[in-house]
Symmetry: C2
Subunit: 299 residues, 2 copies
């Protein structure tokens, strides 16, 4: 069980997955890849990766670990348990690392089902965006059994910088939910502060500079505030995806009977922007919700 | 008009005012002080400051500048325009620096009225708390005419580190309102993330460490998160005072027809804690609002 990991399967070569898989290859792991849109496998094939025909085929090739980087809970379920899914081809002892952001409750269910096949699931959602994925500086929030997590450490170090093992299965996803709560409330504070600045005739950029270094300071303010000020709404992280994540937060909060009034308010702003056609914009386009209410033009 | 400032009057020797006046004295400014509770003048008298009998008396002694550090809009009005107020004793050419956090609209009115007496008002609310005041590292958000603000620069440098001149009269107060908006929304994100962590069985401190370095990071999370985790609700900044500041934000937003749903939600949490007797606790006791809803014990 404690031998080092060499063979890694990678499922899901979107922006995040491709960058992370690329860093694994650079670190010397031997890759087998599969992606729903097959063309995305090509750059990896050129660099010597094996391309599998299906998740089951990939699993049957006997990797030590399979990483998943897909969009939502339903995608993870399909890739693991569907026809031609990982379970259909896997050998006992496999570790599945799920880098997707999905439901903590579903994660615990999937871990139980996989354990019945002698497969260990480790949830390991990430934060840090496409830049962090490319530069290998992601924060990785890990949930799963100690021995598997220890074995995975060299892989995690190849793709991330802050690696936090929170506890048993599902705790990585629960931590990611906490992360998204803090992110969206911070961004809401930035957008409302900027709306107030504009309405009261302040130079919005000067206001951001004046408050950035004190108790109002945050990553969101420092990084997204200036983009909002110059009307740059290109995505680092898309509104459609944060709404997906907030759906997970909502589901978890509902099951726990946990009122999250601030997070719900932020979600309302995102929904307003998405409803107006802004779902593919970056999260900083939350500022447009204040425009849409007729309040203020942040440009 | 451009000669350097030597004689400074200080009105309001509370926690913030006393620390800031003390730093002015250390920097070589000659102080005359007045405080409603006269005993707070004693430490300054011992160090050579003159003690005035009233704001009018203080103004009559002819300082170049009078600094105010009182609680609310009504206090500033009383100290300036009341019987025995500054205006009753002031000589033409006086500059009044208001370090209090008060209404931006009222500030503009006060500036107009003072101009009729050849007195210049500069609004200069601060952020950085009692620690920043003692260490002289405050952020100062300044509104007022260029020439007066330039003349005041050596004074500001004696009490603060980040000195931002936002524009004309009232813009310092407007910027402080923006600052408080961002602060309370960030804190709300921290409290809701911690509630989610507790409810889903995470180690709350581990969660804070896992997310602090990424897109969820903020001053509020780094500084107040750990205090909440260990049940330390002692005030840096009291809930009663943030509610006073949010009253100013509300008034301004109402006049500007600006909807601030996130800020209002945060204010609701603070009100719940204050209603339960927690007004003298630090702002981080917002976390108790989630307890009071029966949601979660954050201790």
């Amino acid at each position: 069980m404690n031998e080092s990991i060499r063979q890694v399967g990678y499922i899901g070569l979107g922006i995040m997955g491709a960058a992370m898989a690329s860093n694994l290859a650079k670190a010397g792991f031997a890759l087998t890849v599969w992606n729903r849109t097959r063309s995305k496998c090509k750059p990896f094939a050129k660099q010597g990766a094996t391309v599998a025909d299906s998740p089951a085929d990939l699993a049957a090739k006997g990797p030590d670990v399979i990483c998943l980087n897909v969009t939502d809970t339903a995608d993870v379920e399909q890739v693991l348990f569907g026809d031609d899914g990982v379970v259909a081809g896997a050998k006992p002892g496999l570790i599945v690392v799920d880098h997707s952001t999905i439901s903590p409750m579903a994660t615990r269910e999937f871990a139980c089902k996989l354990a019945g096949h002698d497969i260990t699931l480790v949830d390991a959602p990430v934060s840090g965006g496409d830049v962090g994925a490319r530069e290998g500086t992601l924060s990785i929030m890990v949930g799963g059994p100690d021995d598997a997590v220890q074995r995975l450490q060299p892989m995690f170090e190849a793709v991330g910088k802050t690696i936090s093992h929170l506890g048993e299965s599902g705790t990585g996803q629960a931590c990611k939910a906490c992360n998204q709560i803090a992110v969206v409330c911070n961004l809401m504070g930035v957008c409302e502060a900027m709306a107030m600045a504009k309405k009261t005739g302040l130079d919005v950029s000067k206001m951001l500079e004046a408050i950035a270094g004190g108790a109002a300071g945050s990553w969101q303010l420092a990084n997204l505030g200036p983009r909002i000020a110059k009307g740059d709404f290109d995505p680092g992280f898309m509104i459609d995806l944060v709404l997906k994540d907030l759906g997970i937060v909502d589901d978890t909060a509902r099951q726990q009977r946990l009122p999250l009034a601030g997070t719900s308010t932020a979600e309302g702003y995102f929904r307003a922007v998405a409803a107006a056609g802004g779902g593919k914009l970056g999260t900083q386009a939350m500022a447009k919700a204040l425009e849409n209410l007729g309040a203020v033009d942040l440009k």
